[in-house]
């Protein structure tokens, strides 16, 4: 039997053989692998890039106190970005499944329309959900726009849902029964996480403190991007800390998700906060494009 970590290792080496940089997870809370700078910023501009990384993705509202076999507060995405997308990408992707032991002559493989959109990032793409014997295992997206900017080179994003894929391959019904390695299960490794963060997100998170934090991070990002816009010297532009400014956007996005899970946001406010985060992401993306030119 292939363990959870076997599958990760095989997928990483498969894509590494396609010249992808093996990145490590981004060290901040994100709701999806797309939000990491390795995707969000790398897809902007004309420079080719390829990377693969596992990103723990936190969605506070999806927590179920570790009691639901299929839903997790934090799930693991294996994220692949190929920019530009190669012509044989579907075939390559199918071969990656075969690399983890899925014989596609014996399984029902379908690409079903599913266009991905992330309103807080001003990003969207065209693609499919990949269905294997009726199970959605990957989101397959040709990015079209990111941070409100039309993309020069069209990247493909493959997001594998690692828990689902492993549960499928190990033939278990609960994600917690996944064998992480030969000794420990997913439950052993992650259950406490799920329980405690569910309690925090649904019961304990201090709404007013989080609101304040949201505002502080928002202000910090806005301040930095605003300052960048006033820099005239090219060398100064090139060394300006836009990456830290993007960290602040991610903070806002996560804090917003926490408030949302806590049920602290009214419907009208919800739309307004999404707009606020989106605005940060969009102005950051524009500044980033500008800086890339300055760097050359």
């Amino acid at each position: 039997m292939q363990t959870y970590q076997d599958i990760i290792l095989k997928l990483k080496s498969f894509w590494a053989a396609q010249d992808a940089v093996i990145q490590e997870p981004f060290d901040m809370e994100v709701g999806a692998g797309t939000m990491c700078p390795e995707t969000f910023l790398r897809v902007l501009g004309p420079k080719p890039y390829r990377t693969v990384y596992v990103q723990p993705s936190r969605r506070p509202a999806d927590g179920r106190y570790g009691e639901n076999p299929n839903r997790l507060y934090k799930h693991m995405q294996l994220q692949v970005i190929l920019k530009p997308s190669p012509d044989d990408i579907v075939e390559l992707y199918m071969r990656s499944l075969e690399a983890i032991g899925i014989d596609l002559r014996r399984h029902d493989f379908k690409l079903e329309e599913d266009n991905w959109e992330a309103p807080t990032l001003g990003a969207w793409g065209i693609g499919w959900q990949v269905m294997l014997d009726g199970l959605e295992i990957t989101q397959f997206t040709y990015f079209q726009q990111c941070g409100g900017i039309d993309l020069d080179l069209v990247p493909v994003e493959l997001t594998y849902g690692l828990e689902r894929l492993t549960a499928f391959l190990q033939n278990v019904d609960s994600m917690y029964d996944i064998q992480w390695n030969d000794t420990w299960t997913y439950r052993d490794v992650r259950l406490l996480d799920e329980q405690q963060y569910s309690v925090y997100n649904f019961e304990k998170a201090d709404v007013s403190a989080i609101r304040k934090a949201f505002e502080i991070h928002e202000a910090e990002s806005r301040r930095l991007v605003g300052e960048y816009q006033t820099v005239e010297d090219t060398a100064e532009s090139a060394r300006f800390p836009l990456l830290p400014a993007y960290d602040q956007v991610l903070k806002c996005s996560h804090l917003f998700n926490t408030l949302d899970a806590r049920g602290a946001i009214s419907v009208a406010e919800r739309a307004a906060m999404i707009q606020r985060v989106r605005k940060l992401a969009v102005s950051l993306a524009a500044a980033w494009m500008d800086q890339q030119e300055a760097i050359g």
């Binding site: 530009p84 997308s85 596609l104 029902d108 499919w128 009726g134 199970l135 079209q144 009214s266």
Partner: protein, 685 residues
Amino acid sequence: MAEFLLEIGVEEIPDWMIEPACEHLKRNFLGVLTETGLAEGVACVTHATPRRLVLAAQQVPERQADKEEVLKGPPRKIAFDAGGKPTKAGEGFARRAGVAMTDIQVGIDDRLFVKRIMKGRGTLEILGEALPAVILKIHFPKTMYWTGKSGPRFIRPIRWLVALLDGRVVPFEIAGVASGGSTQGHRRLGSVGIDVTSFADYQDQLYENYVLLSAPTRRERIEKLAEELVHDGLRVRKNDKLLKTLCYLTEYPTPILGKFEEEFLDLPEEVLETVMQHHQRYFAVENANGKLQPHFIAVANLDGDPAGEIQRGHERVLRARFNDGRFFWEVDQKQKLSERVEDLEGVVFHAKLGTYLAKSRRMIRIVGEIASELGVNDETSRHARRAAELAKCDLTTAMVGEFPELQGVIGGLYATHQGEPREVADAIYDHYLPAGAEEEIPRGLAGRMVAITDKLDTLGGFFAAGMMPSGSRDPFALRRAAYGIIRILIEGELPLSVDRLCELAGAGGHAGDLRTFFVDRLRYYLREVRGYRYDEVNAVIGASSEVPLDVRLRTEAISRVRPTPDFEPLAVSFKRIENILRKAGGVEKYAVQTVAMDLLEEGSEADLYRAVTALSAQVSRRKRMGEYAAALIAIASLRPAVDRFFDDVLVMAEDEAVRNNRLVFLAHVLTEFSTIADFGEIVSG
């Protein structure tokens, strides 16, 4: 004559876009043939799978016919000098025309001209130039670019192109992909780089490579193999929409039978069916009585499942889904619908139109008004108001969160489970009906009233905010809402008036627009759905469009009485009366006056007057009782008297008083008998 084959090899196209894309492809292609004079006698078919759009044309001319062309030049006087020698202008013309001076002739208009034979161009060359646009102009609802933002747009990336004219490659290129003569088979069961020579060869080779090119063939295969999987009096529950989806999600479909635990049958059938058909795209299986059985049929894009792996995979997914469904059901029962009313404060109906709490409060009021308008009994009125109060509460449930397409249905099921009266539960269950042209209207009176109310409130809100549909844009499905109301009023036999509905809708300054909107839907319904002739509909609506149910009854009466011998001739006479009155200053001018008996001429005029008087009481009695056909037959019986009147009597008499009186009399006849239909609208013959 040649055969042309085009295959656009694409990554998986969304199933629902494929048939329209084939239509566009065919239209674009034939458009090019027509423009270039190559269309005559061409027979053209299209086929498609998720990965290919295919067009095959037979009897395509190999080249355009040669054409004689006349090129006009300058006047002779300018082209030749006095000595008859060509001038610069003359030589220039010959050069441009590409002929020697000696080939030039002078026409009767004294200008130079030259006749040339234009060689027709080869079809290969013409198609090579035209095909990129033929392909890229296929309309898709949402397109993408894949070679960079300045590259072409299509539904998904184009990966290969086959274009053969009698086996010869028609050369062109799209997004770096050059046309050729080589195709690909099924993603895993077939090969790539399959060279083909003709359409027949192409189909054979695809078949060998596990691609069933024709959608009807795939459909038959699904239906046949699925039926073979079920035994013992079981059968596959029909679902044409799903069948079509699966035809366009597969190149080589193979049905696979799966089962699930019987205990899940405790869940409502609606939930099971939605999970299976909408989410998982499985066919449900039922017994001879139509009861759901613990089996399903998945359709794989493969040739079989000898080891049962695919079956087990689908079963596991379905089990997880059903478990979710059961979990949602249990969670939702912790808070009754009636305890969720205030939660609707947190659910926005539309940013400009407030929350669902506000909507449900308006609905309670409106449905109460409708109930009293219709004079329904107290119990039904109470049930309708209760249903209006609870109708939207399921929007806050976990089940509807997971299965939004079940809104209403879930509310109805929960209401039953939570002990609401059956009429209330049914009304909630049905209140989105009729959602499609083929769907039924709500079962009961309370449900009909609530369904009308919900739609009416939506229409009123959007109209008041000025967000009416325009052209093909109708993002809030307001046409469907209005049309649904018309259907419920007519098919549910509710005699409500359009004006009253518009009042209740709260459309503000746009009440008039809403009224017109309803009447347009009413016309559409009568003509397109009920199949009444357009002039009958115009005649009836011309008389009055007030109560849709009544309009329908009157239209029915007209269409029944119309074939009787007196009807159309009488309609012609009525039209004549209308014209006479219009020329004389308008119907209204005379209708307000009274007829002076003593000015009527004895004979045909007085006879008609007596006939009219005798009839009018009878007609209005029939009308009051809703016996419109009988009333119309009675009116038609006037024909001989009317005919004699026009034969014998000169309406525009010399004597002014007599003339005026005649016009008054005719105006009375017209208005008296035009309340069922405006006969002037009937087009005879």
